[in-house]
């Protein structure tokens, strides 16, 4: 059993597990942090941005963290744990000869589709007259500034996929439900379990009769909107692959939510606008729910909230129809019947409005001061670029970062100097080190495999030994491109005895052991299976070595008699 690690990013994993001649890809996250090295894609021409000195490229390139460690066409199945971890799917399933199946839950598929649609939309609505590729040559890359110079294998960086690729990739998805047992080629069984992180997010159990691998990716023990994490099913794993821990181990999500609300209220009261760059699904539902309770108390009832994204409407609607995948509280609302999320009421009372983009209705209905939720959190593309240009110059306005995926300082770099206030409230509900060590104590896997980042404290806080995994035996670390042999000793396999042989075996266990053969009943029963039936049928041919008495008995007795003789020999009586 081998594990091929294709991604070094701990929260956007991509591993391939070879197990009983089945090749299983676990997640395919798309690391988009490389876009931070490029200039933003403005929706309207910005003289300021185009006059910036230094390297100018408007190439919306995305870094694809894949190395040709193995042939993608040999992959049998891809298991998706949550919608953030499937963004590279079209790169894997399209134009690679991939013929396998992708397994994901329904919310993961639907919301993943939305996020991909949004990404494609962001890229395609600002077409570039030319795209630079020459910089990828080694001689030129060497001369480039900053992190670009050191980036490895830029030649494998790819352009964003098209909607056609997305549709084709998603057509290969087979829907599964939590705790559904899916048989792969009769060799392995895979089961998704609720992971508590987002709508339809799952951990996976990959098991045969004697081996069990748990794949834990992006799990949460906090009470937010999704169904709580299923921990007990992870017990008795031989190997537990642990990825997707919190990226903000020192930030408490509840505290951050409080900061978020108080900063928002402060800015609005002072007459400023609030900009929240965020993904269009996930934490935004919790933010809206929190604000729903907050605005009444804080007297902000008249402030408009805008959610701008090509998929804003679908995202808000989808959240309401996946009752089966929600936490108990929200589920019981559906029985009333009421929509599970309170943002339905915000929309109904016109407090929350959503628009596909800043063009069209939004420009005429837009009132300030207001709160705007929009993407992309990298501030490099999407409608957020426009708001940065619009509001960046005023110190009344505030930008509040809630997504932990991008460094906010890097994200803001091209917009400097900036007068607007910046507040960093990263909300990452995934497991922290304290929770994970408690979890591991409970489920007790024999071995833990994790990204090497988790085996040492973060570089910036090297004294914090509590921000790493300390386990006995120590976890097996992996980095990008490593191939790990998993410590398995397969010794047993499950087979089915044919019913024709079965009855003999069951019959035997009922046997009354006569005193003539054994002085006492045997403790164990040993029975050679080879050709028992033939032996029975032909045994009279060898009566010279067998007792003649059996000849008159019925066939089943012959078998028993025959076997008893063997026992006598085996047991030395």
């Amino acid at each position: 059993m081998k594990l091929y690690c294709l991604s070094g990013h701990p929260t956007l994993p991509c591993n391939v597990l070879k197990f009983k001649s089945t090749t299983i890809m676990l997640d395919c996250g798309l690391d988009t942090t490389s876009v931070l090295q490029f200039l933003p894609l403005p929706l309207v021409h910005s003289p300021r941005l185009s006059k910036l000195p230094g390297w100018v490229s408007k190439d919306g390139t995305i870094n694809l963290e894949k190395k040709e460690l193995l042939d993608l066409s040999t992959i049998d199945v891809i298991l998706i744990s949550n919608y953030h971890c499937m963004m590279a799917l079209p790169y894997i399933t399209e134009h690679t000869g991939f013929t396998g199946t992708v397994y994901a839950t329904e919310p993961t598929l639907q919301i993943g589709r939305l996020l991909m649609e949004e990404l494609v939309n962001f890229m395609e609505r600002v077409p570039k007259a030319q795209s630079a590729t020459c910089w990828k040559y080694k001689e030129i890359q060497r001369l480039l500034p900053g992190p670009l110079k050191d980036a490895v294998e830029v030649s494998t960086w790819k352009r964003c996929y098209s909607m056609q690729d997305v549709n084709s990739a998603l057509s290969k998805v087979q829907l599964v439900g939590y705790s559904q047992k899916v048989e792969l080629f009769g060799a392995v069984q895979v089961t998704p379990l609720s992971s508590g992180y987002s709508l339809g997010s799952s951990n996976w159990i990959i098991q045969s009769h004697y081996e069990k691998v748990s794949y834990v990716s992006g799990s949460s023990l906090l009470t937010t909107h999704p169904q709580p994490m299923d921990q007990s099913s992870l017990k008795n794993s031989d190997v537990l692959i642990l990825t997707g821990l919190t990226q903000m181990p020192t930030a408490n999500p509840d505290g951050m939510l409080g900061d978020f609300c108080s900063n928002l209220a402060m800015t609005i009261r002072a007459g400023g606008n609030v900009l929240v760059p965020c993904y269009s699904s996930g934490v935004i539902y919790d933010l809206l729910e929190c604000l729903y309770q907050f605005i009444e108390n804080a007297n902000l009832g008249s402030t408009p909230f805008y959610f701008i994204s090509p998929v804003a409407n679908s995202s808000l609607e989808f959240s309401q129809i996946f009752a089966e995948w929600l936490c108990h509280n929200k589920q019981s609302k559906v029985y009333l019947p009421e929509p599970p999320f309170p943002h339905a009421e915000l929309i109904q009372t016109n407090k929350l409005k959503h628009y596909p983009s800043i063009h069209g209705d939004f420009s005429s209905e837009f009132r300030q001061p207001c709160v705007v939720f929009t993407g992309h959190p990298s501030l490099r593309f999407g409608d957020v670029v426009h708001f940065m240009e619009l509001w960046g110059k005023s110190s009344l306005n505030t930008i509040i970062f809630t997504e932990p995926d991008f460094s906010y300082l890097d994200a803001l770099a091209p917009y400097q100097p900036l007068a607007m206030k910046c507040v960093y409230c990263p909300i990452d509900t995934r497991l922290n080190f304290h929770q994970v060590s408690k979890l591991l104590k409970e489920v007790q896997p024999l071995h833990v495999v994790c990204p090497e980042q988790y085996t040492q404290p973060p570089p910036a806080q090297s004294h914090r030994s509590d921000l790493m995994l300390e386990l006995q035996p120590p976890p097996m670390p992996y980095r990008r491109c490593s191939v790990l042999g998993l410590p398995f000793r397969r010794r047993w396999e499950r087979i089915q005895l044919l019913p024709e042989v079965g009855p003999v075996a069951t019959h035997l266990s009922d046997l009354q052991w006569g005193k003539k053969v054994f002085s006492q009943p045997p403790i164990v029963q040993v029975l050679p299976l080879k050709k028992m039936r033939e032996a029975c049928n032909c045994h009279h041919r060898y009566t010279s070595t067998m007792t003649d008495k059996m000849r008159k008995k019925n066939p089943i007795n012959h078998i028993v008699g025959f076997l008893m003789n063997l026992f006598a020999n085996y047991c030395g009586k």
């Binding site: 019947p337 003789n565 020999n569 085996y570």
Partner: protein, 578 residues
């Protein structure tokens, strides 16, 4: 022998009060717990005293599963759990869990408040009963206990309807509840994988009908409505609030638009508004093409109570009016009576009602027809078939057809009658990987996965586990000495040569016959074929009668028996002795 027992308490050769008991692998499961619309007395509910004469049912049942929210499948649930007494888990899908208590409450109101019955379950009982419900997701494998697992499949029929697979070890039963095999405007078609259950328990409401194409039926329906409205009549369509209503409404709405008709479509309120909410919140259960708005007609569907009956009473006297019964009607209901052409109805308080309006029947109800049932059998490939939820005569017909086409047993037990099916489960055994690899290597590098092969191993039964290991390992593990079992055989031959000559003649003969075997002529006067020893002896009195002594170990029994047969035939002449 292991067996599975199925006993219908209701819906055995009947439609209504579905309640089927299944005993499988030592577990007892109740499938559905419905009421009969046609009765108002004790016969309304299944006879739970069959399970136990006194006391609660909890210790006799491992779980209760409800397939969908129609009252003939869940109407007796509060009675069973709260009045008879059952505290174990009750499984149903999310939409069923949401809608079921509303229908139960509605049913309770009609019975208690309108008809004034006492000794009926209360609102609190419905609430308490619903607290015992565990929601099921589609395709989720739910472990009821260590051995019993259940899994729900999509059944179409109504919002949240499910088929369930019940599995203990390698034995399994599938219960379909009500289902339909053709997708319609608001729900998809039922689907199940090739799970090969020991018994498939299927409904058979439309066992003998093979419904004409949907389009024809729809056109017919629209034509009838149109004609009636044109001549100034009114149309009453009693339907269950959640189900056919949505389908027919979408149909009518498009028709109204196309024909530019002005006649208003009214629908009785109450349940309906909520119903539409449910459809929105559980949209993942519906067909892709579902529309956002619905209009709903009068409920309930069999004209046994409620608003549909009130309207019917008012309109019955006018021959211009029409009533379209879009679904099945249970015996005893007014719906059933007027469909059978009864022109005078006895109502409460001895009043009679004359029926003058036109009565039309259209099979729009989402049940599987004969074709659909056969299709499901093809999908699931059951070993036995059991029919419920249908009329005896029609079942008989379908039973013959199934037995003919699939050559499997088909049962149709009546209420209280037990069907026993003997199963033949295979025995799971753990095999040592070493042994498996060794045996695989014997058959060449790539074994044919489709062909079974015999293999040689030793089965150890210990502590309730069965393990197959190599004989050497078994001996080692159990601390036993290996004992050889040898077969010895005497073959008499007429051969006028000296003993050593006969032996070398045998050697030559075997060499020519058994190519590819190790054959040795040993100096101590024996011939060895692999491990088989052959000796020659003769007595002084009859020097020409040679006695060949063959001896082989148990493992070489194939070769040994072949050799003995071969040598019995004698040696061919013309063999040179070396």
């Amino acid at each position: 022998m292991p067996e599975i027992k199925v006993t219908p308490l209701g819906a055995g050769q009947d439609v209504g009060r579905s309640c089927i008991l299944v005993s499988i692998g030592g577990k007892n499961i109740m499938l559905d717990c419905g009421m009969h619309m046609g009765f108002n007395d004790d016969r309304r509910f299944p006879d739970f005293s069959y399970i136990t004469q006194q006391g609660r049912l909890t210790e006799f049942l491992d779980c209760v599963i409800i397939s969908h929210f129609h009252l003939d499948h869940c109407g007796a649930l509060p009675y069973m759990s709260e009045m008879v007494g059952y505290d174990g888990p009750i499984y149903m899908t999310h939409p069923t869990k949401a809608i079921c208590p509303i229908l139960l409450e509605d049913f309770r109101k009609i019975t208690v408040d309108k008809k004034g019955e006492t000794n009926f379950f209360t609102s609190q009982m419905i609430k308490d009963c619903m607290k015992k419900v565990v929601p099921l997701n589609l395709h989720q494998t739910v472990q009821v206990d260590d051995e019993l697992e259940i899994k729900a499949y999509y059944a179409g029929h109504v919002l949240g309807a499910a088929m369930v697979q019940i599995k203990v070890g390698s034995e399994s039963v599938v219960y379909t509840g009500d289902y339909n095999m053709t997708p319609d405007r608001h729900l998809g078609a039922a689907w199940i994988d090739k799970c090969r259950p020991d018994i498939l328990i299927s409904e058979s409401t439309y066992a003998t009908t093979i419904r004409d194409s949907k389009r024809c039926r729809e056109r017919d329906f629209l034509k009838k409505v149109h004609e009636t409205v044109e001549r100034g009549g009114k149309v009453l369509i009693p339907v269950f609030a959640l189900g056919r209503a949505q389908e027919l409404c979408i149909l009518l709405e498009t028709f109204w638009e196309r024909m530019n008709m002005k006649a208003p479509i009214y629908f009785s309120t109450g349940l309906t508004e909520k119903a539409n909410h449910y459809y929105k919140l559980f949209i993942t259960w519906t067909n892709q093409k579902i529309r956002k708005t619905f209009v709903v007609f009068a409920t309930p569907g069999m004209l046994h109570a409620g608003q549909s009956l009130q309207i019917f009473k008012k309109w019955a006297g006018n021959e211009k009016n029409m009533i379209i019964m879009p679904g099945y009607c249970v015996q005893g209901t007014i719906g059933h009576k007027i469909l059978n052409g009864q022109k005078k109805l006895e109502m409460e308080n001895r009043q009679t009602l004359e029926v003058k309006l036109q009565v039309e029947y259209m099979s729009f109800s989402a049940h599987a027809d004969a074709k659909g049932i056969m299709q499901l059998i093809r999908m699931a490939e059951p070993r036995n078939m059991l029919l419920v939820h249908g009329e005896a005569k029609k079942m008989e017909f379908l039973k013959d057809k199934i037995e003919q086409e699939f050559t499997i047993n088909c049962f149709m037990p009546a209420n209280g009658e037990t069907t026993t099916v003997i199963t033949n489960p295979s025995v799971p055994v753990d095999i040592s990987l070493n042994l498996l690899k060794r045996e695989m290597a014997l058959g060449g590098p790539l074994p044919d996965p489709k062909k079974p092969r015999t293999m040689h191993g030793t089965l150890i039964m210990k502590d309730n586990s069965l393990r197959l290991v190599s004989p050497e390992q078994a001996l080692k593990e159990l601390g036993l000495n290996e004992h050889q079992l040898r077969f010895t055989c005497r073959v008499q031959l007429q051969d006028p040569h000296s003993d050593p000559d006969t032996l070398s003649r045998i050697y030559t003969h075997l060499k020519s016959v058994l190519k590819g075997y190790t054959i040795q002529h040993l100096p101590d006067g024996t011939v060895m074929v692999e491990s088989i020893v052959i000796k020659v002896s003769s007595s002084a009195e009859e020097p020409n009668t040679k006695v060949l002594l063959l001896s082989w170990s148990y493992q070489d029994e194939d070769l040994g028996s072949f050799l003995s047969t071969l040598l019995k035939k004698g040696l061919p002449s013309g063999l040179s002795s070396m």
